[in-house]
Structure formats: C-alpha cells, structure tokens
C-alpha cells in the first residue's frame, strides 16, 4: 500500500492505494464520490472523466498512486453553494440525458471546454465530447444543453 493525499474538489483526501488501482476506482470506492462513473475502463467511453488542474482526463486510465500534487475536480465539485452549475441546469431543462450514466463525464468535458472557449460552435462542442459515448443516443440534446449553458454562462 502507498499512502497518498489527493486533493479533490478543494479538500484533502488521505488514502492508502495499491499501485495498480485506478484513480476512478479510488475516487468511487475508497473516497466515496460515486458521481464519477466507470464504464469501459479502457479509455473508450468517457464516463469517468474528471478535471486535472482544470483539464479533462480519464480517471480510469490514471494510476491513483501518481495522482498526488494535482487539483482534481469531480462532478460533485462543480456546483455553487446553493445552485446548480449552469451545465447541470441545462442538462435538466433540455433533457440532455436519458439514463444519466454518461452525464457526469459529459458535463465535466463541457465545463473544461466552456472555460477555455466560452463561445463554442456546435462542431467545437461535438469535438469536445468526441471521446464520450451516450448509449441512449441523446447526443443532439447533450449538444443543445451545452450550447445553452454556454449562453447562460456568458450572460
């Protein structure tokens, strides 16, 4: 076991990890933040996406043991004190989900996009979520949710 301290959503999370454990596994099973989903566990579905120092990465492809020294943000860390993040709100309002399994990953990827590019075109939105699968096929509404969130964030 390796003792490490992960900084997740601004909080210190001391945890003991084995070398081969993925960050996704540790976040869900050891720290208890189950908003981050695991699907394929080989980097092809996008559901485990979290932010590393503001940039999206797949937490299933990251060894937890070398995750120290970064600021990690999961879906639990993006809302304000009392209100939902604009992306969370538009995903509800525009029905950007059916079963909801891909939603945390989609929202995290979209958040990183909007921070870098507050006025994305539809094709830029599609490119930002290219590594994310929605098995319900809700892509059109996901794109709409992200476009509308961008507009709300700008206003």
């Amino acid at each position: 076991m390796n003792s490490i301290n992960l900084k997740i959503n601004g909080e210190d999370c001391p945890v003991d990890v084995k070398t081969h454990w993925s960050l996704a596994y540790v976040i869900r099973e050891k720290i208890g933040l189950t908003g981050t989903k695991t699907g394929c566990e080989m980097g092809t579905c996008g559901s485990c996406t979290i932010l590393m120092d503001g940039k999206p990465v797949f937490s299933c492809l990251r060894m937890a043991v070398d995750a120290e020294g970064h600021e990690w943000t999961t879906i639990e860390g993006i809302e304000g004190d009392d209100e939902l993040h604009p992306l969370q709100q538009t995903f509800i309002d525009d029905h950007g989900m059916q079963c909801g399994y891909c939603t945390p990953g989609m929202i995290i990827a979209a958040k990183a996009l909007l921070e870098e590019n507050p006025e994305p075109t539809e094709s830029e939105v599609r490119k930002a979520i290219a590594g994310h699968l929605c098995r319900c096929g809700t892509y059109v509404r996901i794109v709409k949710s992200i476009m509308n969130a961008a507009e709300i964030a700008r206003s």
Binding site: T19, K55, V57, F58, L61, D66, G131, L133
Partner: protein, 282 residues
C-alpha cells in the same frame, strides 16, 4: 508491484536496471492502464517518469527538441509545434479526437508503443531521431531504426526514451497528415504523413511519404516508390495521383479492423490527401 517516482534521471536508470525487464516506465498511463490486466502479472516495478524534467519543447542548435513526457496537447498548443516549420505536430494531434487522451498521452509513450499510433508516422516523415538514455549515457537512434517490429523497439533493458529530436526541415518544407479511423475511440486504421521540400520554382527537392498503422510490418514505413515519383518534379494533381498509386509498395496488414485491400485503398487516398494538404500550405 512497487511504485517509484524518481526526480533524477540517474535514479530512474538505476531502478530500470535493478528490476530489468520487470520494470516498466510509465508516462501518460493511457496505454499502460488500458492494458493493465495483461501487464500486471509481468511488472514488478512501475517507474513514473513524469517528474524527471522531460516535459519541454525547444529549439537548440537548429534542432527541435521535445522531452519524452511532453503531452500531445502540449504539442498541439505550443507556439513552436503549432505553427511554422513544425506545425505538422499540431496537425497530427488534431486527428486524435479525444481531448482527455491528448491531455495525458505523451510523445515518448507514442514512440515506444510501436503499434497503431499517429506520431511515429509523422516523426518518420520528418527524419526524427529518438534519444535513448540509460546508466551508460545517451545514444541516438533514427525513428526508422527505433521500431524493430510490432510492439518491439530498439530499447535495451534499463533504457528509456528521454527526447525526440528533429533536424530543421529544409527551407520551404511543407507537411501534411491524413488519417482514417472508425470512431474517435478507435485506433488509427491508416495514417499518412508527408514532407516536401520545394524549390522556389515549385520543383520538389526532397520528399518523404510515410505510412503507419496499416503496414504489414506493424510500424510506419516509407513509400520509396511514391517519394521517387515526386523528387525533381513540379508537383501537380496528376503527379499527386501517380504518387498515391505508387504508394501500394507499402504492404498492408489484413486483420479484423480492416482488410489489406481496404487499407491499401485508404493508403492511396491518405497519400493523396496529405500531399494536397502539404501543397496547399504554400
């Protein structure tokens, strides 16, 4: 399985020598973690090489030097590798559509895989050299000689890649990259990188046509026949078509992801597309 995160190169080399073939250097993690089930039985020591100061992009003595742990998105965003002589790097990364992978995967990981990845195809077209480090010092191996075969490189036990170097492309050099894959999450089925050096009157002084992901050899190969058609000629549409047809001197692999016939067709289309991109760069 032990985990190490050395901060000095010598420390890293000592660990790689000590554990020999049971040690694995990891950078972006994206390949290693995706194959963990197969690898975990064989690996006794994981050596994280991201804290060795090997993340940089710079030009020294007319040579472009890229540290092994530089990520694909760093290449995509850096001034040197997204414009001018070396913008082929950004163009190559642009064809990998998963932002999350681009934030993690490193150039060192790409060259060490010796399989279905994009960057080595481009590095072959740009006559890159791979700088290998170990306890006995460093040595330089050309991209062409670095890949011995599928998943097989010139790295000896105890060694790792520390840097990728590119000689300055000849004046008026232009590059183009083209790729076929099924979905963003797929690995490339065919990729092609070209580099042309043109005289002021448009005559081609030097040409490189490099084909990856599709080859029977499992690693990128140059199409010498296509290159010979281009050199000393003025390049127009008819010549591009002729070079594209000639690129069938690269033997394609037949596997579950695509038949060799389909790959050969896509190689031809890829060569045509990459050459047109290079010419359009003007």
């Amino acid at each position: 399985m032990e985990y190490y995160s050395p901060t000095e190169l010598n420390e890293a080399y000592a660990l790689l020598s000590k554990y020999g073939d049971a040690a694995i250097p990891v950078a972006g993690n994206t390949f290693f973690m995706g194959h963990r089930e197969e690898l975990f039985d064989e690996v006794e020591a994981v050596v994280n090489i991201k804290k060795l100061g090997l993340s940089y992009i710079k030009i020294e003595d007319d040579t472009l030097k890229i540290g092994a742990t530089t990520t694909l998105n760093e290449l995509f965003n850096h001034e040197i590798t997204s414009s001018g002589d070396y913008k082929i790097f950004a163009e190559t990364v642009n064809e990998l559509n998963i932002n999350e992978v681009r934030n993690m995967a490193t150039i060192g990981g790409e060259v060490c895989i010796a399989g279905e990845v994009d960057m080595p195809t481009t590095l072959l077209a740009y006559d890159a050299n791979i700088i290998i480090g170990g306890s006995n010092g460093t040595r330089s191996v050309s991209m062409q000689d670095f890949h011995l075969g599928y998943l097989n490189t010139a790295l000896e036990t105890g060694e790792m890649v520390v840097e990728v170097q590119l000689p300055k492309p000849i004046e008026n050099a232009r590059g183009g990259f083209s790729k076929f894959e099924r979905t963003a999450a797929d690995l490339p089925i065919v990729n092609v990188a070209v580099r042309l050096a043109l005289e002021n009157d448009g005559t081609c002084k030097e040409a490189r046509v490099s084909v990856g992901a599709a080859t029977l050899a499992g690693v990128p190969k140059r199409s010498i026949a296509a290159e010979e058609i281009l050199v000393n000629q003025k390049i127009d549409e008819a010549l591009i078509e002729k070079a594209a047809v000639a690129s069938n001197d690269v033997e394609c692999i037949n596997d579950f992801r695509a038949s060799s016939e389909l790959r050969a067709l896509w190689v031809k289309c890829g060569v045509e597309d990459a050459l047109k991109k290079a010419i359009a760069q003007g």
